[in-house]
């Protein structure tokens, strides 16, 4: 085998790769922001959920000491729900993009760039999640204010909640993308994605804090990582502020980092299975 004489250009150091991902993320933010109106329309459902739950909690509070059961006042519970809904609804089913790219062969157009396929999708899909999360909050906060009234929110609560939620969205992406990598073996991963998403919602404390769960289920949920994704950031936002933020961020980062193992293994194995669909 022979080589050519001219100097070849080589990809730069890791920080340049991060810069590329930031570029993809920026483009996604701009593209998605252009469709902000449509996304906000979709979040109209959020208003309905918050209103229904405010009524439910108000009725429950007549016969049960809500604070003793959940650790929150009714108003805090509505704000909690607004935050968890904003986070979870910020995760679209864009993971099926990978299914489509593998099935149609469009993956080829991603693999010919000097930017790793998962890194590209991290920029693109996490960017998408951030826009949706931001817009969900833009709808959720006024609705919560309207149906539950104001709660004592300090700036540190807001900062801690946002930082924890953004980290959660990124850590969750690692796992959902790992599941997407199964597309190299199966034609459709949406079933597994749906299971994972529902587990995150139900076992993560989407609708009510985990303290309100039956004892045994509460213990199971406390042992699972989903609470770091859903209940954790919402608690920071509604009540805890920066208290426990370090532990939560650490847990989120460990969860995300652990997801990198299956992601990279499946990606490397999966690439060998790419065939030449669609010419």
């Amino acid at each position: 085998m022979t080589a050519v004489g001219l100097e070849l250009r080589r990809p730069g150091p890791p920080h340049r790769q991060v810069w590329k991902v930031v570029g993809v993320l920026g483009v996604t933010l701009r593209t998605r922001a252009a469709y902000a109106g449509q996304i906000i329309l979709r979040t109209a459902f959020l208003a309905l959920v918050l209103f229904s739950f405010s009524q439910l909690w108000a009725a429950t509070s007549l016969s049960v000491d809500v604070r003793a059961v959940t650790g929150f006042t009714v108003a805090q519970l509505i704000w909690y729900l607004a935050f968890t809904e904003a986070t979870v609804s910020g995760i679209p089913f864009r993971e099926s993009e990978v299914d489509q790219e593998v099935r149609s062969g469009d993956i080829a157009t991603r693999l010919i760039r000097p930017l790793a396929y998962p890194a590209f999708h991290f920029g693109s899909q996490v960017g998408d999640r951030l826009v949706r999360f931001g817009l969900n909050l833009c709808v959720g906060v006024p609705v919560a204010l309207l149906v539950a009234g104001p709660i004592a929110l300090r700036p540190l609560n807001v900062v801690a909640g946002l930082v924890a939620a953004v980290t959660a969205l990124a850590a969750d992406w690692v796992w959902t993308f790992s599941i997407s990598m199964l597309a190299f073996w199966f034609e459709d991963t949406s079933g597994v994605q749906l299971l994972y998403r529902r587990a995150t919602m139900l076992l993560g404390g989407l609708l009510v804090p985990l303290e309100a769960y039956p004892d045994w289920l509460g213990k199971v949920c406390q042992a699972l990582p989903f609470r770091f994704m859903v209940a954790g950031p919402a608690r920071m936002f509604v009540a805890d502020g920066v208290r426990g933020l370090g532990t939560l961020l650490g847990a989120e980062l460990i969860y995300g980092a652990a997801g990198l193992v299956p992601l990279l293994v499946l990606y490397r194995l999966g690439l060998r299975r790419v065939t030449s669909q669609g010419g």
Partner: protein
């Protein structure tokens, strides 16, 4: 050091494809005991390409052309064989290779659908780690050469196919690739857009010394862009020679498809004029299909004579189908 840009030896690609019988019972059987068939996409391809060369890879659908390009660009792993592109093993050093080559797929867009092409160019400059000043110079040059100025601020989804392809090729060239892989770059384009793309690629090859590897079903692409042609069939190279040799041996015959008008009074169209080297192969009430031996009579001359002698409503000139060329190659091989 030599000037070999691409070298492939004994490249084989096999993969398994799931098959199932039709109907509901077939579906259940396939769930309980899935069956697979092995597909041989490439069966030991040898290929070498010198720096600055322009090579066309042609063959019928499913012959292995795109698979070859995808292996050379690192998208696919071969089952067997050795490949070096610019001295790199594509599937192991994909990112390094990507910094130095470009691929354009005529049937797949690499531009961001909702973004104006100009913004995609900016992002690509970052992805290819281009120096700001270098990027600006190159972008201006390409915008001028491809006449892209009016298109840069329009979202890609709003561009016509021809406009989009100009943007696709320009985007692929931003980082000054040393090799340009083109997979059906003119598919679906009108004559003018085809000529534009061909002109630019030819200029790149001749003036900048960019090595070109092209796959196409369009004999015009092959004849106008490449000096050498490799015909591939069922994953095997069946012909590797100069384009002029292929043309002389196998592209001598072209087919003219004429759609005629009636004279207005319901009378049938007049008979075909007798022209040496022209043979009627099919006739319908208002259509005539002719085969022309271009060695005996240039195609342009035949078309002019037909237009003068007959009430022509529409005319199409086609090359012989690829299957016919391949059959002729096999016949020649068997004879020799």
């Amino acid at each position: 050091m030599t000037d070999i840009a691409v070298e492939a030896r004994g490249v084989e690609k096999r993969y398994r494809r799931r098959v199932r019988d039709p109907g509901l019972s077939g579906l259940f059987r396939s769930l309980l005991s899935p069956r697979y068939e092995e597909v041989l996409a490439l069966g030991g391809v040898d290929l070498a390409l010198k720096t600055g060369e322009s090579l066309a890879l042609i063959g019928p659908n499913g012959a292995g052309k795109s698979t070859t390009i995808k292996i050379l660009t690192g998208i696919l792993f071969p089952t067997k064989g050795e490949v070096k592109v610019l001295g790199l093993t594509p599937w192991e050093q994909r990112a390094a290779l990507a910094m130095n080559v470009a691929t354009v797929f005529g049937q797949r867009s690499q531009l961001w659908y909702h973004l104006p092409a100009g913004e995609t160019f900016d992002l690509l400059a970052r992805i290819y780690e281009l120096d700001r000043a270098e990027y600006r110079r190159r972008r201006e040059e390409l915008v001028e050469r491809f006449e892209l100025q009016p298109l840069l601020r329009t979202a890609v989804r709003k561009l016509s196919l021809g406009e989009r392809m100009r943007c696709e090729v320009a985007a692929a060239l931003l980082h000054r690739p040393r090799i340009l892989f083109l997979d059906e770059p003119t598919i679906g384009l009108d004559v003018i857009a085809k000529q534009q793309i061909r002109g630019i690629v030819r200029e790149l090859n001749e003036k900048e010394g960019v090595t070109v590897l092209l796959t196409s079903h369009d004999a015009g692409d092959v004849e106008q862009l490449c000096k050498r042609v490799v015909v591939i069939n069922r994953g095997q190279v069946v012909f590797d020679d100069r384009v002029s040799t292929l043309r002389r041996r196998y592209l001598r015959r072209k087919v003219i498809d004429l759609q005629l008008r009636d004279g207005g009074d319901g009378s049938p169209p007049p008979p075909l004029p007798e022209i040496p080297g022209v043979r009627l192969i099919k006739a319908s009430a208002m259509g005539r299909k002719l085969e022309v031996d271009t060695d005996q009579r240039p195609i342009a001359e035949v078309v002019s004579q037909m237009m003068a002698a007959l009430p022509v409503a529409d005319v199409t000139v086609e090359d012989p189908p690829m299957e016919e060329i391949i059959a002729a190659i096999y016949r020649d091989e068997a004879a020799s």
